[in-house]
Each structure stands twice: as C-alpha cells, then as structure tokens.
C-alpha cells in the first residue's frame, strides 16, 4: 500500500531469556497485522503488559520480530543496513522525560539527533530553532533541562525528535508521569504536529480522554489487536472494553448515565466538548434553554 507509513504483517515477538524462561514465556506481541496510514493520529490502548511498548519498539527496529514482517516506508526493519534510515523516519518519545534528555542545555539536546545524522551545522541550527518554536519552547532554549517542568521536558524531547525530520512519532505513554497541565501541553503539541506538519502520530496512553481525541483507536489485549477503528466505533463496544478492564471516556460514561435516566443525547459523545454540545442540544430541544 502506498499511503501507509508503517505496516505490520502477521508480526509476533517474544522477549529473549534463558532457556528455562523461554519455555514458559509467552509472546509479547502475537500475530499482529496493522497498517498505519500517513498523517493518521492513532492511539493505542491496553492494560499493563498487553504489549503496547513492545509494539512501539517494533516500529523503529529497536526490536526485530521473530516472525512476520514490519515495514517502515517500504523498508524492512529486519534489514540491518536500513536501521538508521528507519529511525530517521520514526522517532520515539518515552514515558520518563528525564531519561531521554541527553545534554545539559535544551538546544544542545534538540541538536543531538541531527548531529548523529551528520547534518551540516548551519542546517542543524535552523532545524533546532524551528523545532523549538513548533513545540513552543523557543524561549527556553538556553535553560538547563532539570529546571523545566515535566510537560516542558517532554516537549523538549518531542522537539529533539522532529529536528530529525521524522515522518512519524511514536509516543509511549508520554503523559503517564506528568501533571494534568503538562499532560494537556503534550497532547496539544502532538495534535498540532499532526494537524499542521502532517506528522503521523502513534499515541500509546492509559487515559481514555486522550485516546478519544484520535482519528483511530487500537486496543491491545494479551499481545493481540482486539479492536481497531474510529473512537466512536471502538468505544461503542462497551462490553468488550469493560471486559478487558479498560474504562470508557468519562464523557461517554456520563452520556450513558443520562441515557439510563431517560435523557437521550442525539450524537455519539466521546470528548468533553462533544458532551457539552450534545447536552446543550438536548436541553434546547426540551425547551430548558434557548
């Protein structure tokens, strides 16, 4: 397929271990077939140990599948000679912002990726300034990372990735360790990069509210893809979602409760703003307000 950026073809992966461990160890990712399209915003959900991080690491040749094939822009991740071309295309942002910042000054850290790629110094400068502006951290370019908040550090990490001119960013629970304000900053940045720069985003998260804002939601369970579709469709499968121990977005929950109490909302409700609109609409219909 031409318009897909990452392609999983019947991929299985089991972590290495001693022989004894190996016998009882189950694959972390099982027979996954998935195609991520260019420019998509995909969120990945799943309970702890369902294989989300493993899936992420398979995307940029950090891990190589034992069976099946992962292709990034037509390049097979199993081909060692392409490893850096692949990582140039697909960047990764991790959970702990402290453990992915390399330099003692923000702008030096953002320059780290392009420097590794051997980009010309002048061009690096341009990319660093551009990336820092794109994530709204330009004023902090000469700060020391440890003087920034969690959300700010995470945005610096994102700038470090886009300075490499990646086409796709995989976020592995980037919001799990930061406060709600920082969480909103990171989510906003990811959405903005997706919308304005056309960067494909794969967003692994435990927060249903964040997942509901994606174009597409993939739910993992025990290493398999359980559900895959638009947020409305996936969160429509209330029973399946609840069965594997996930929640549905609280706005959708509220809509359900309203329904149980006889207040029917017109449209599918997933995000808080959907909910406000739908409730307002219902109230208007009922003649409570104009």
């Amino acid at each position: 397929m031409k318009d897909s950026i990452i392609e999983f073809d019947n991929v299985s992966f089991t972590y290495d271990g001693t022989e004894e461990e190996q016998k009882e160890r189950l694959p972390a990712v099982k027979e996954v077939t998935l195609s991520i399209k260019k420019g998509e915003f995909v969120s990945v959900l799943g309970h702890n140990g369902s294989g989300k991080s493993t899936l992420a690491k398979l995307c940029n040749a950090i891990l190589i599948p034992q069976s099946g094939k992962v292709t990034v822009c037509g390049m097979d991740t199993a081909d060692e000679s392409l490893i850096y071309d692949i990582r140039e295309k697909v960047g990764m942002v991790f959970q702990n912002p402290d453990n992915q910042i390399v330099a003692t000054i923000v702008e030096d850290d953002v320059a780290f990726g392009p420097e590794n790629l051997g980009v010309e110094p002048k061009e690096i400068r341009r990319r660093v300034d551009e990336s820092l502006k794109a994530v709204g951290m330009y004023e902090f370019r000469e700060y020391e990372p440890h003087k920034l908040s969690g959300g700010q550090k995470q945005r610096v990490a994102i700038a470090g990735i886009i300075a490499m001119r990646t086409d796709c960013i995989v976020f592995d629970e980037p919001t799990a360790m930061i406060d709600p304000k920082g969480r909103a900053e990171v989510m906003e940045t990811a959405k903005k990069l997706n919308r304005e720069n056309g960067i494909t985003v794969i967003f692994i998260t435990h927060f249903m509210e964040e997942a509901a804002e994606a174009d597409r939601v993939v739910v993992m369970d025990d290493g398999r893809v359980l559900l895959d579709g638009t947020p409305a469709r996936v969160f429509g499968e209330r029973e399946t979602i609840r069965k594997i121990g996930l929640e549905i977005p609280s706005a959708a929950n509220l809509a359900d409760m309203l329904k149980e109490n006889g207040i029917e909302l017109e449209s599918d409700v997933l995000t808080p703003s959907d909910c406000i609109d739908a409730v307002y609409e219902a109230a208007r219909k009922a003649g409570v307000c104009s």
Binding site: I62, R87, Q100, T104, E107, G113
Partner: protein, 272 residues
C-alpha cells in the same frame, strides 16, 4: 530548592574571557599554570599575581567568589606555610626554641609557596567561572581528538562526561526523594555513631543504584532511537572558532612567559 542547583561553577557573563574559544582557554590556562611554576622570585610571581587580578576584573568575577574557590584548599595552604617555615634551612635566624629554628628564608619561602598556590587556584577557577561545563567537555573532546590515532575513544569519554553532568541534578533529586521516603518509613539517618550512620545509608544507596541502572537502560534506548552510533560521522551544531580575542590572549601568555624568564634571570631567586 533542588531546581536551583547549577552544575559546575559557571558565572554567566559577556566578558572577553567568556567569549574566548574554550579550546584556547584551556590551553592558555595550562600555559599559565606552567609559567607560575617557572617563577623563581617575588618579581616574576608578582607579575603573575597582577595578571591574575587583571583577568579576574576583566571577567567580572566578584572577589567574594574568588575567595570562595580558595576555601577547599585552605588546609593545604596552612600546611604548606608551616612546613616551609620550619623546614627551610639556611638564612638568618629570627627565632629559636626547642628544636625548631625560624629563618627569614623560611618565611620568604612559605609566603612564596602560598602566593603561588593561591594564584594557581585563582587562575584555574577563572576557567570554570567563565566556561559552561558543556563547553568544557566539548573543548576537551576537540583538543584530545588527535589521540584517536592511538585508538583512544575520545568521543566516548566526552560523552560520558556530558551524561554525568546531565544526570548529577537528576540523581541529587532522586537521593532527596529516597531519603524522604525512607524517613517516612521511620528510618533514622541522623543519629548514632559512624557505623550506625553508614548502615543507615544502605537503604538509600540500593534504591539509588537500582534506579540509576534503570535510567541508564532507558537512556540508551532513547539515544539509539535518535540514531546515536558513536562519534563517527557525527557533526556538531556549535562550531568553535578561534577569534581575535583568542590570538591576543595567546600572545599575552607568550609575553608573560618571556617576562617571567627575564625576571628570573635578572633578580635573585627566592627558591631552588
């Protein structure tokens, strides 16, 4: 607050010393140290003291900060002074009691040695006061890069230094967090003798090490994701350029060397 710690002792500024190429600055500082060791009398040493004082003013480093950098070597200064007063032979006797004689030569030597050490510390502190740690490691990498011929991993060493600098504040924060967590569990870190206190450190050090290893593991992942593959084929955003200031500084140092040699010959030596 822990957020306020600054690594190293860099004092931000815009002086000529701040703007110098860090490579030249390191080399000039080394030359300065060698010249100080060449001084043999108060005239040549006096010249170096004057030069150090001028540089301090030029860099805009407050006197208070300079004195602060001398505090760690106070013991050494006192020790050097005492040793030289009592153990220098020759010269005119000034004082004699029990088995100890104090001579004028002894006092001269003691003062000379102390001034020399002070000058040495002040000069090298100027380097760290006017250069960020990152610039220093960067410059060291570039100065040492010819050693690559001998298969010495200069880049790896410099990278290790940078990462160490980067993680010092993070680990200090972590220590604080672990200490608070252990105190909350009733750990007593402050009382008892040496052995008891050392034992109390174990529940702090073990979690610290475990977390440091986890961090290292994750950092390695993150670096690989950003296409890190060692120093080969790597470019740098910040280029270092030798400017007019650097040439002037080198010339001044060379002139200083000449002047010290001249003063050493012209005036009677105090030592050696």
């Amino acid at each position: 607050m822990i957020r306020d710690i600054t690594i190293g002792q860099y004092l931000p500024g815009k002086s000529a010393l701040h703007k110098m190429d860090p490579r030249v600055k390191i080399i000039v500082t080394f030359a300065f140290i060698i010249v100080i060791f060449m001084c043999k009398n108060f005239w040549s040493l006096g010249l170096m003291v004057l030069f150090t004082a001028l540089c301090t003013i030029l860099a805009g480093v407050p006197m208070r900060m300079m004195l602060k950098s001398l505090r760690p070597v106070m013991v050494i200064l006192v020790f050097t002074g005492i040793l030289n007063i009592f153990y220098t032979s020759g010269g005119n006797k000034l004082l004699e009691f029990w088995k100890i004689t104090v001579t004028d030569k002894g006092i001269y030597t003691a003062v000379f040695m102390i001034v020399r050490i002070v000058c040495l510390i002040a000069g090298s502190s100027l380097l760290t006061y006017t250069t960020t740690p990152t610039m220093l490691t960067d410059a060291i990498e570039r100065i040492l890069s010819p050693l690559k011929v001998f298969k010495i991993q200069v880049h790896t060493l410099a990278m290790m230094m940078t990462l160490a600098l980067r993680f010092i504040p993070t680990l200090i924060e972590e220590i604080e967090r672990i200490m608070n967590a252990q105190k909350a569990r009733g750990a007593d870190l402050e009382s008892g003798g040496f052995i008891k206190r050392a034992k109390a450190l174990i529940p702090i050090l073990i979690p610290l090490f475990i977390s440091a290893f986890r961090r290292a593991y994750e950092l390695a992942f993150a670096m690989e994701c950003r296409c890190y593959r060692g120093g080969e084929g790597r470019t740098r955003m910040k280029q270092m350029k030798v400017k007019a200031t650097d040439i002037v500084a080198s010339a001044v140092t060379a002139a200083l060397l000449g002047a010290v040699i001249f003063l050493n010959i012209y005036f009677k030596p105090v030592i050696g």
